[in-house]
């Protein structure tokens, strides 16, 4: 009502279209619940589907129970990671991209998937070959780990193996892990202007040790200018860019290419 009043005061002639027409296509879409939207995307296989479903609703116990059943039925635990767990997570990513579901849903599902992956690994006889490994951390001295937590969830949702070094992670520890894991990329998050300089130290140490790799830095405190000054630095403005950057790296992008693709000015 109030909106109508404001509009009346301002515009020449305009209407609230709801009274004269129905966008049935929009209305139909609205009535689809996330669960219904997901229903169309699950794998058909009767063993895989319940697991994917449990991933989607974030039901950790359901995931493990489904895996247990499938494995005892003779399915390969590593193949289940790809087909059931990542399959389920693909549904989550897709619907998140389409804004049918929201960040908290992704976080729940990501946790459930992670539980499932651990379970499968414990049952597997060989090693799994993930799409690629990414190391994530929060700068030393900084406790703000929510942005990083989101980045981790989204990377996992897209099938990457994430080594999560948590918050307040000392420079040396980050470099050690890079040396050990040789990941596709390293991410850092800093929300305090006092802590972001850790990224510079990490960059220098990586250079010293000849460990060239894209180092994506994000978080409220840092900005593109600061990050561009680091030899390996790529600025990450929003968490959903992380999996896209990883995908670019898989298809051959280096630091320069990533900057070209993701930097703003």
């Amino acid at each position: 009502m109030a909106l109508k009043k404001i509009k009346e005061r301002s515009m020449a002639l305009d209407i609230d279209p709801d009274d004269i027409l129905v966008r049935y296509n929009v209305r139909l879409e609205k009535e689809i619940t996330p669960e219904e939207a997901a229903e169309e995307l699950y794998p058909d296989d009767p063993h895989l589907k319940p697991i994917a479903q449990a991933v989607f609703v974030g039901d950790e116990e359901g995931v493990v129970a489904g895996l247990e059943k499938a494995i005892s039925g003779g399915m390969d635990p590593l193949k289940l990671i790809d087909d059931a767990l990542i399959g389920g997570m693909n549904v989550v990513s897709k619907l998140y991209d389409e804004a049918v579901i929201y960040l908290p849903d992704v976080m729940l599902s990501s946790d459930a998937m992670q539980k499932g992956i651990e379970y499968c690994k414990s049952k597997a006889t060989s090693d799994m070959k993930p799409k690629g490994t990414v190391i994530c951390h929060v700068a030393e001295g900084d406790v703000h780990d929510i942005g990083k937590t989101i980045v981790v969830a989204l990377l996992r949702a897209n099938g990457y193996n994430v080594v999560d070094l948590g918050r307040d992670c000392p420079v040396e520890e980050v470099v050690e892990h890079v040396e050990k894991e040789r990941p596709l990329m390293l991410t850092g998050t800093a929300l305090m202007t006092t802590t972001m300089y850790a990224f510079k130290h990490i960059n220098d140490k990586l250079k010293e040790k000849n460990l060239a790799l894209p180092f994506v830095c994000g978080g409220g405190a840092v900005n593109q200018d600061f990050v561009s000054k680091l030899e390996f630095g790529v600025y990450g403005e929003e968490a959903p860019q992380a999996p896209r950057m990883a995908a670019s790296i898989l298809s051959g992008a280096n630091v320069g290419k990533l900057r070209e693709e993701f930097h703003k000015h």
């Binding site: 966008r23 296509n25 049918v100």
Partner: protein, 461 residues
């Protein structure tokens, strides 16, 4: 010879209304189009079996013409335009078309003399420039087409139009793949180049015979997109993409006017309002009155700035209330009467806004074509009016912006439409800044992808 538009005819969209154009056009027997009133333009198709011989066709068109003129006089309408869209045979045999025109005009003259009814005859030869799967835009068939125009102008036709189809081979490929750069290339570049080629000649013929070189329409492409997009529930093509094809087509259809055509453009060019905002010349439009031919989602809105009001095409046959052309013609004429009353009573802006608002939010296509937004697209086109590529790209990007803003103003989009829009915008923003690069990149791409694309032969590229 080609004079590009780099400024707007209207500084303020609110100036634009139906029935009034900046440059009215005199045509036929006592008619002036865009000079303060709207006029019905009746369209028809002969029954298929009559196309077998010239005589049968002439007879059919005589009945059609008589029926229409009769009804116009019977109900008391002051003016009418008849448009004959050729069946292939009439263009392939130019003298058939000429004979039809001659017969029609004789009847119209009789009514004009007897009752004083103002009238004009438009003919639109078919674009016959193809050979099976291949376009043959500049070869033998082209000569036949020009011959047809020539004979029509000699035989009493008042306004010459065509629905040219340059670029269609690439467009058909691109639109099925949601390939917006391809749509831009096919309509904005290829289509525009072909129009320039053909319209220079049409204008010359018209001038030589003192008839009106009226205008074109992007029926072949933008309307294809609109029909593939379909109704609200169809999902073959997002309506957000269909409207991008449409606004690009405005940059293309404008070329006829730039080559010297004076309007009114062809009725099925839903890009008309954009053209009018730029060129200030009269436009023919169709909407709710063309439901006999197809359904659209902006039946009232397109009336907002029309000068001729048309029914697209109806097959000639009997109805309870007379023949089909009488029924539809009468409907058109009553609509025009309403608009003319509004013009006389100074309420035309209100009526225009009522037309516009009744469909503005129905669909993204209507939203962008609503005159204030159509004007914005026009403005984006003239900003780079000298560069066919850039101005088409401007039109497309402005469309994206208008839709994005629209979402904040009451336009509702589905996720499907939103996603297509987002992808389109990203694709457009990634395009090069200059025509040469874009054209050469596109040539490489579509030569590979489109088997029937022959750039040298058809566009001298």
């Amino acid at each position: 010879m080609v004079k590009r538009f780099t400024t707007m005819a209207y500084d303020d969209p609110d100036e634009m209304t139906f029935g009034v154009a900046k440059e009215p056009v005199k045509a036929g027997l006592g008619l002036t189009i865009g000079d303060g009133f709207t006029t019905p333009e009746i369209n028809y198709a002969p029954r298929p079996e009559t196309a077998s011989s010239k005589e049968k066709l002439v007879k059919e068109y005589k009945s059609i013409t008589t029926d229409i003129m009769d009804r116009m006089v019977a109900v008391g309408f002051p003016g009418v335009v008849l448009e004959t869209e050729h069946v292939q045979e009439m263009t392939n045999n130019p003298e058939w078309g000429a004979a039809v025109a001659h017969a029609q005009k004789e009847i119209m003259e009789r009514y004009h003399d007897e009752y004083g009814i103002n009238c004009a005859l438009r003919h639109t030869p078919g674009d016959i420039r193809e050979d099976r799967d291949y376009l043959r835009l500049r070869e033998d068939k082209y000569d036949t087409l020009l011959k047809s125009f020539e004979l029509l102008a000699e035989n009493g036709v008042d306004m010459l139009s065509v629905e040219s189809m340059g670029g269609k081979e690439v467009f058909d490929h691109a639109i099925l793949r949601d390939d917006v750069p391809g749509v831009l290339f096919s309509i904005g570049c290829l289509g525009a180049m072909d129009m320039e080629y053909i319209w220079k000649d049409i204008v010359k013929i018209a001038k030589d015979h003192n008839v009106v070189p009226a205008g074109d329409t992007d029926c072949a492409q933008a309307n294809t997109a609109m029909f593939v997009a379909g109704g609200l529930l169809d999902k073959n093509l997002a309506h957000t993409l269909a409207i991008i094809a449409r606004t690009i087509s405005a940059s293309r259809t404008l070329v006829a006017w730039e080559c010297g055509a004076t309007g009114p453009n062809k009725d099925c060019g839903y890009e008309g309002t954009i053209l009018k905002s730029i060129g200030g010349r009269p436009i023919a439009q169709e909407g709710k009155t063309s439901t006999c031919a197809h359904s659209d989602v902006m039946g009232n809105l397109v009336m907002q700035c029309c000068d001729l009001w048309s029914n697209e095409s109806v097959e000639y046959h009997g109805e309870f209330g007379g023949t089909s052309v009488q029924a539809w013609g009468e409907t058109l004429a009553y609509d025009c009467t309403l608009m003319n009353v509004a013009l006389k009573t100074g309420t035309e802006k209100t009526l225009r806004d009522l037309f516009m608002l009744s469909d503005k939010y129905r669909d993204p296509q209507g939203y962008v074509l609503a005159y204030p937004n159509a004007w914005k697209v026009g403005k984006a086109i003239v900003e780079d009016g000298d560069d066919l590529y850039l101005r088409a790209k401007n039109a497309a990007l402005e469309t994206c912006n208008i839709l994005e803003e629209g979402v904040n103003e009451g336009l509702k989009l589905t996720r499907f439409e939103t996603k297509a829009l987002r992808d389109a915008k990203i694709a457009l923003e990634g395009l090069p800044d200059d025509q040469d690069t874009f054209v050469s990149e596109s040539l490489d791409k579509y030569k590979k992808e489109v088997r029937v694309f022959e750039p040298k032969r058809n566009y001298d590229l």
